[in-house]
Symmetry: C2
Subunit: 248 residues, 2 copies
DNA sequence: AAGTGGTCTAGACCACACG
DNA sequence: GTGTGGTCTAGACCACTTT
């Protein structure tokens, strides 16, 4: 039953669908709100009423703004204005804490897990280690201004950095390798692609599954070509701009 | 009215929401379908019936798979299996056609627009040209296996490549610059970030607005540091993996 | 002309966050 | 406990694509 007469579509003129017009109205409204970067949107039901539409359609408009990286949702707490993107050069060897601070923001790293594992086949294939060879695995979550923006899996070669797991990994692993073990990567292969965050990663970042994300992988070797580190990072899509300087 | 008894949530047990279980079932079903890479999914209404749910919920599940880059939609024509991601090194100077063919795929480029414009302020700021200075502008759309995967805006310095607009730009601009003008980029700045495709770009690629995308910008200068080219690419998020090799 | 995806409504319940 | 976001239903119309 429900709908008898459905004004739905071309209702209030304009060739654009309602949710796109709503998106624009919403953004215009948001922009002229005070509150600065920590601005939080009113409840969805309230917004739906204010803009005379359904929650479903309103959420479609909100999702658009989310995809454009303008607003984001935190857990079930509501919608917030997205802070400026972090500039990130995965090729530079200044650690996370360094470049976040350099941009006037507050970094934080949480080590979620550390263990010695046996290299699974995919890791063996990538690294050149023998399948089943011992590998340090570290799982970390990183924050910018107390917003969780990425989870990171690190895999390290114990032959090159014995005892690493006894060190604190709440700062830069790169710094640790350099200062404690005199290790520096000589070759690097970077891969990155856009993909939704699912399961564990979405949960760890407190976002809903299917939230847009950016995956960055970094494979480092030393000067002899030995496997040093594999780094797999799952970022919120709206949290960063990757910047790479190349001269040649 | 409508719903009187709503089994909705924990209905068929399992702690995951229905649309996530649906996503998994759907993917499992898709994987064991014949038809290879050009596989097209049945109509949404049919799928909804087959999996005993609403179209809305089914579409939520489909959107998940879309976000994960497993399926995509073409215009209003339906859902298809996503082909393998293209490997793309924006730092390498082999043109689009070259590396697409190298991966066993069929490239195509369509020049949508060519014109001489006056540098807008943002371009002037980026390039170092004077605001209002003449700049060649080229808009192109590129295909892989007849799937439109990116639109590209090129801005070139006419002082370095006079008459470029009279050449065909349906192949590699890089090759043109190199062979016709003996120009090669010496410095490059790459930026990239994940962002939804909107308005013109979404339309040009035949995807719905808000579809996940990847933006890549490449600023090239010659050995004297003169502005050579600015390249802005809007990719479908599921069409590529960016790979950068770094030695140092 | 038929069918399909795209949009939209008016509800409802659930589970988590917060006071 | 209350409110909020998250999920879900059962429809309907529209516009485009395809037959």
């Amino acid at each position: 039953m429900a709908t008898e007469k459905n004004t739905s579509f071309g209702s209030s003129s304009g060739s654009q669908p309602l949710y796109l017009r709503l998106r624009d109205q919403l953004w215009q409204w948001i922009e002229q709100q005070p509150g600065g970067s920590q601005f939080r949107l009113p409840a969805e039901r309230e917004l739906a009423e204010r803009f005379a539409t359904t929650r479903v359609t309103l959420r479609q408009a909100l999702s658009q703004l989310e995809g454009e990286g303008r607003i984001y949702r935190s857990n079930r707490r509501g919608w917030f204005l997205t802070p400026a993107r972090l500039q990130y050069d995965p090729n530079k060897d200044t650690g996370f804490h360094h470049y976040v601070q350099e941009q006037g923001l507050a970094p934080r790293t949480e080590t979620l897990q550390k263990s010695l594992i046996e290299a699974p086949p995919w890791l063996a294939a990538l690294s050149g280690l023998a399948p089943g060879a011992p590998v340090y695995q570290i799982l970390r979550r990183r924050y910018v201004d107390e917003r969780a923006v990425l989870v990171e899996h690190n895999y390290l070669n114990p032959a090159l950095c014995p005892g690493l797991l006894n060190q604190s990994t709440d700062l830069s692993i790169f710094t640790l390798l350099k200062e404690r073990y005199q290790l520096q990567p000589a070759q690097r292969q970077l891969s990155m692609y856009a993909q939704a965050l699912t399961g564990q990663e979405a949960e760890a970042l407190g976002v809903s599954p299917g939230c847009a994300g950016l995956f960055i992988q970094r494979l480092s070797r030393d000067q002899q070509g030995r496997f040093l580190e594999l780094d797999q990072e799952y970022w919120l899509h709206d949290a960063l701009t990757v910047v790479v300087q190349v001269t040649g």
